[in-house]
């Protein structure tokens, strides 16, 4: 086995021999990579935070949003260029550290990076700010007076590593609101964020000290405490337990934006279930299940399929299984660790025993212990519950999609993405109900696991939530007039 060593993180103002390094090892398909991640003392973290805050005040807060978008766009152009060394190292190492299929990662990264080009980023800003110029200076408001949006001086990110390069969302959001950014690498994918920081510094050298990327073990030590204490705002991704642990460590005055566990669901209407439309739809559904082996917060766990079409829900389950089998040939599921394998086996065997015990003779498990995917078909309405991931999915037959709303609503706190295949009228009717139940994103089947640029992650405003608005009230403007040099 060939072993490579990669240094992760991004620490402006600190040399490699000044900090302690922890080694995380990953191996896949005969290649091993040892990733060295930096561990800072409280003193070092404090100095780093101060440096980032000062540099971003000088070099980031003084730029216009359009110019910032220009820099990010240039970085994205580099990442989309397959001959660029940054892109090449992403293609080379992200499959090794995450275990995901190399082609799946390559296609996923390209699709992902495309959503961060300049036109998309301008839309992203316009999505949250009717007048994006409020990020650059005071703008007159219709009610009188003026308003300006200020991003945090120091924005701290705690990233998750379930999907490669996931850090981009919040990192870019932080840049767009001109925040100094310090992020904590996830142990499961400790590479991309540091590369991105280095790339930005290369594309636009004045930013060299405007961001940093660090790591700590578990809940962190004094260094983590120091950083959390200094942050104006903390964005965190991960399991609800770890989010809770972070929340408990923050001063009450720190703004905390958590993105926790989510449970995706698909709804397939009868109008999509004729013999012409159903097979390609099943292929799209399979893509949603396949992408990153269902590790995304937007990944589907259950497809509810309406009865009454030429293609029955059971036949749809068969199509889906066939497409999953095809996709496994093209993008093999990643190798399973003992814990993952145990979870999948438990889910599958629990279902088998239900079948053996069963009153529901129509239920079936398609695929089995030896396939790298499983489709559990249920003939009666079932609660919305997670599967074992790793391409395990439930297909549930229902008489009408409306009947699913109570079981979806029961999981309100875990809802985010619903994929819908239905006629325009049905789409809007269902969307009203899904929104009321707590769903925050409705996409096409096939687009569930590829959110569009500027989506409102977990129903929140990506940029608005980061800023505070400062108002010049009309009274102040009026009161200033008599004090002007030109006053009579």
């Amino acid at each position: 086995m060939t072993t490579h060593t990669v240094q992760a993180g991004y620490l402006p103002g600190l040399t490699a021999d000044e900090v302690a390094w922890q080694q995380l090892s990953f191996s896949q398909h005969g290649t091993r990579v040892d990733v060295a991640v930096p561990m800072l003392t409280a003193l070092q973290m404090n100095a780093l935070a101060e440096r980032v805050r000062r540099a971003s005040a000088l070099h980031l807060k003084t730029m216009s949003v359009s110019d910032i978008i220009g820099v990010i766009d240039r970085a994205m152009a580099r990442l989309l260029d397959r001959d660029d060394p940054f892109r090449q190292q992403a293609d080379q190492w992200l499959p090794v550290v995450t275990g995901f299929d190399a082609d799946m990662v390559r296609l996923g990264l390209t699709a992902f990076f495309k959503t961060f080009r300049a036109p998309q980023l301008h839309r992203f800003v316009a999505e949250d700010f009717a007048n994006p110029k409020v990020l650059d200076g005071f703008q007159p408001t219709p009610k009188g007076g003026a308003v300006r949006a200020f991003g945090p001086d120091l924005l701290v990110h705690s990233w998750a590593g379930n999907v490669p390069a996931l850090a981009l969302w919040s990192f870019v959001c932080g840049l767009l609101v001109k925040a100094g950014n310090i992020g904590k690498l996830p142990s499961a994918e400790p590479l991309f964020a540091g590369w991105f920081a280095r790339l930005l510094a290369e594309v636009h050298p004045p930013w060299v000290e405007c961001m940093a990327v660090v790591w700590w073990r578990g809940a962190g030590d004094d260094g983590a405490a120091e950083l959390y204490a200094q942050a104006d705002t903390v964005v965190a991704y991960g399991g609800n337990d770890s989010l809770d642990a972070i929340r408990k460590r923050l001063p009450v005055t720190t703004r905390f934006l958590p993105h926790g566990h989510k449970l995706g669901v698909g709804l397939i209407g009868v109008s999509a279930l004729d013999t012409l439309k159903a097979p390609p739809l099943a292929r799209l559904a399979a893509w949603d299940v396949m992408r990153y082996d269902q590790q995304g917060c937007y990944s589907p766990h259950v497809f509810y399929v309406e009865r009454g079409g030429a293609v029955t829900p059971r036949a749809f389950a068969d199509y889906l299984a066939a497409e999953l089998a095809n996709l496994h040939r093209r993008f093999p599921r990643r190798a399973q660790g003992l814990d993952d394998a145990a979870a999948v086996a438990k889910w599958q065997q629990a279902f088998e025993w239900k079948l053996l015990a069963a009153e529901h003779r129509q239920d079936a498990l398609i695929g089995g212990p030896t396939t790298a995917w499983q489709v559990a078909y249920r003939d009666q309405l079932q609660p919305l519950a997670p599967t074992a991931l790793q391409r395990s999915i439930q297909v549930v037959a229902v008489d009408a999609l409306e009947s699913v709303m109570p079981v979806i609503g029961a999981q309100r706190r875990y809802l985010q993405t619903a994929g819908v295949a239905a006629s325009p009228e049905a789409l809007y009717r269902l969307a009203d109900m899904l929104g009321a139940a707590g769903v925050t994103r409705i996409s096409a089947i096939g687009a569930m696991s590829a959110p569009e640029a500027g989506w409102h992650h977990d129903g929140r405003f990506n940029l608005l939530d980061l800023v505070r608005m400062t108002e010049i009230e009309n009274s102040a403007e009026m009161a200033a007039q008599p004090l002007a040099r030109y006053a009579d």
């Binding site: 660790g337 003992l338 629990a350 997670p386």
Partner: protein, 360 residues
Amino acid sequence: MDKLAPLVADILDFIAADGCSDDQFDALALRLFAHQFAANAPYRSFCQQRGVTTRKVNTWRDIPAVPIDAFKATELRCAPPSEQERVFMTSGTTRADTRGRHFHPLLDVYDLSMIRNFAQRFMRGDARMPMGVLFPDEVAMPNSSLAHYLALAKSTFGSDDSRYFMTPQGIDLPALWQTLDAAVARGEPYALLGASYSIVHVLDALQAQGKRFQLPAGSRILDTGGYKGQSRELPLETFYASLSDLLGVPRTHCINMYGMTELSTQFYDDGNAEVPSVKSGPHWIRSRLVDPVSGQDVAPGERGILVHCDLANFNSVTTILTEDVGVARGAGFLLLGRAEGVDAKGCSLAVEEFLRATSA
């Protein structure tokens, strides 16, 4: 039951013997498998789905292992329900339909298995000693296999002054302190037995009250069952260090029992001077470490999921697939905790977390 009598008699003889050869173990395992395959319809279907029949089972290793969740999904039994049967249920949630059930038409086999094993591994040759039980009795918890196990320990091996310290309000600490003081005064070895979480409560109380005991030489402690969310969780090292420090029982005499409602036989270690300790069972139970997907043995030295073949499990299934991760060590195995699934990496909801959240 009449048809069953010869089989039960042979199992009792088997347990009563001092050991067995591989062939003897296989012979009884195969007889039990044939019996269970014939009498337990869901199990037969499960085996048939895997292409396994009695002809294909040549050693205990070939017997299809049943995941413990199956004890929740269906009634895994050979004998029909009867008035005198005992039902042991798993703890965890309050919903009856999600509790695993293990049916015992009679407890002779369970009891002999427990007594033979306990005498050797916990009593270590002593006939009786005074015992304190930190767990509810069988009246309070009629469906708890642990309550029955501890009652049996107390009635079979406890001297007359043995007693329970559990009340509806919790542990009767003043009475416990008094009893331990008396044992120290008499210089007579004492045994404390209970769920690991009850013992944590005792440790916490000792710490809070600034108390400690130096129990007489030969005293011992049995803990079992983990914490189940009923107390704070202590790392093994801290747990046994505190036990030894606050009760004066050397770690070689702090014994952990690993058992399951789905089994009729327990595993013990030989003390916890080092953790994790090596667990092993008596001659009528054997264990394998498997890949959970293929069911095949893992390579020697690799982590795997534990499968146990318990010949005392005559009425359900002999062979179960646990959710515990282990690694082989000597004649036994190290228990490395439960397989957790990988929910720590990100924000896609995993089953384990979901169940925790929804059962709360």
